[in-house]
């Protein structure tokens, strides 16, 4: 019984044409028992970046609280919002600090930098960054998410197409995983002039 599989949950992020999308399921369990069906693992960091933290739920919240503190301090000192690339490195160093007693989360990061260029990344539980160009997956349904994403993803998807693609990737992957599911949320980030515009949608999925 792995610690990463105690609470369950999965996340996926994808790159589109001048947009990114990130999605997660809503289940919180205690091994086979489902405890809550409203536990989102994705958190907004800036108006145009979000981070998903699937894994052990207590560490999901702890790492989010640490990240929130660090990104708030960054904004106060630098007087600007943190870029997604820098955020990925911040997540990496936050996790590597605990190299020999790690946080049991495997984050995915998605966002647009100020020029609107899409960026996604994921890290392992000790902060090794994966700079993917297409999609990143994490959580108990990661293998299923890899399979779904590899088949469904194609480059240069428009925001509405990307929404459909990431939704089907997540829904069909979690339906095959006992520890993920019970609802899902998708965030699509695009540029609205010079501001990030985030559209958050709840998915209709199998509630079992």
């Amino acid at each position: 019984m792995s610690i990463m599989e105690l609470n369950g949950g999965s996340c996926v992020a994808m790159v589109g044409k001048n947009c990114v999308a990130i999605a997660c399921d809503l289940r919180l369990g205690n091994q086979a028992l489902t405890v809550a069906t409203n536990f989102s693992k994705v958190f907004p960091v800036t108006p145009s970046t979000l981070v998903g933290l699937p894994g052990l739920a207590t560490d999901t919240m702890t790492v989010w609280e640490k990240l929130r503190f660090r990104t708030n301090m960054y904004e106060m000192k630098e007087n600007r919002k943190i870029s997604p690339q820098t955020l990925a490195h911040l997540v990496s160093s936050t996790l590597y600090e605990k190299r020999f007693g790690p946080y049991f989360v495997e984050p995915v990061i998605a966002g647009l930098d100020n020029s609107g260029v899409p960026f996604i990344a994921s890290t392992d539980l000790i902060g090794c960054i994966n700079f993917a160009k297409d999609f990143v997956v994490s959580g108990t349904a990661s293998e299923k998410l890899f399979g779904m994403a590899e088949s469904l993803w194609e480059p240069d998807l428009a925001p509405e197409e990307l929404f459909e693609t990431i939704s089907q990737t997540l829904l069909n992957a979690v339906d095959r995983d006992a520890f993920s599911g019970w609802g899902a949320i998708v965030w699509v980030v695009e540029m609205d002039g010079s501001e990030g515009k985030v559209t958050k949608r709840w998915l209709r999925g199998r509630m079992d």
Binding site: L28, V35, L56, T58, T62, E65, G101
Partner: protein
Amino acid sequence: RNHIALRPSSAASWTRAELAKSIRSRNPYSVNLLLGGWDPTSNTPHLYWLDYLGTMATVPFAAHGYGAYFSLSTMDRYHNPEGTLEEGLDLLRKCINELETRFIVNLGKFKVRVADKDGVRVVEL
């Protein structure tokens, strides 16, 4: 210090942080909790499920322990989120009856407490 009691959401967040600190200490707390309360600033009830690892979830109804495997099913079926206190106590009675019927351990008498706008008090089921 602040001449006012903590709101339930703040109390739950603080407790969660203490538990999260404890789990990686030399001698961690081994306690799961259900935290319920009334927030007088917004006039809303709150219920939180916390465990010894520092996991926290906002839930409409909750249970801990082996009894949870029985009572959650009863609550899934009969819980009314807009119900009155009497309906809630009735639901509690149904859960306890379920345990008395199907659970191998005899749990004896339950102590029931209510938290609402009039504060916290003990209630006889």
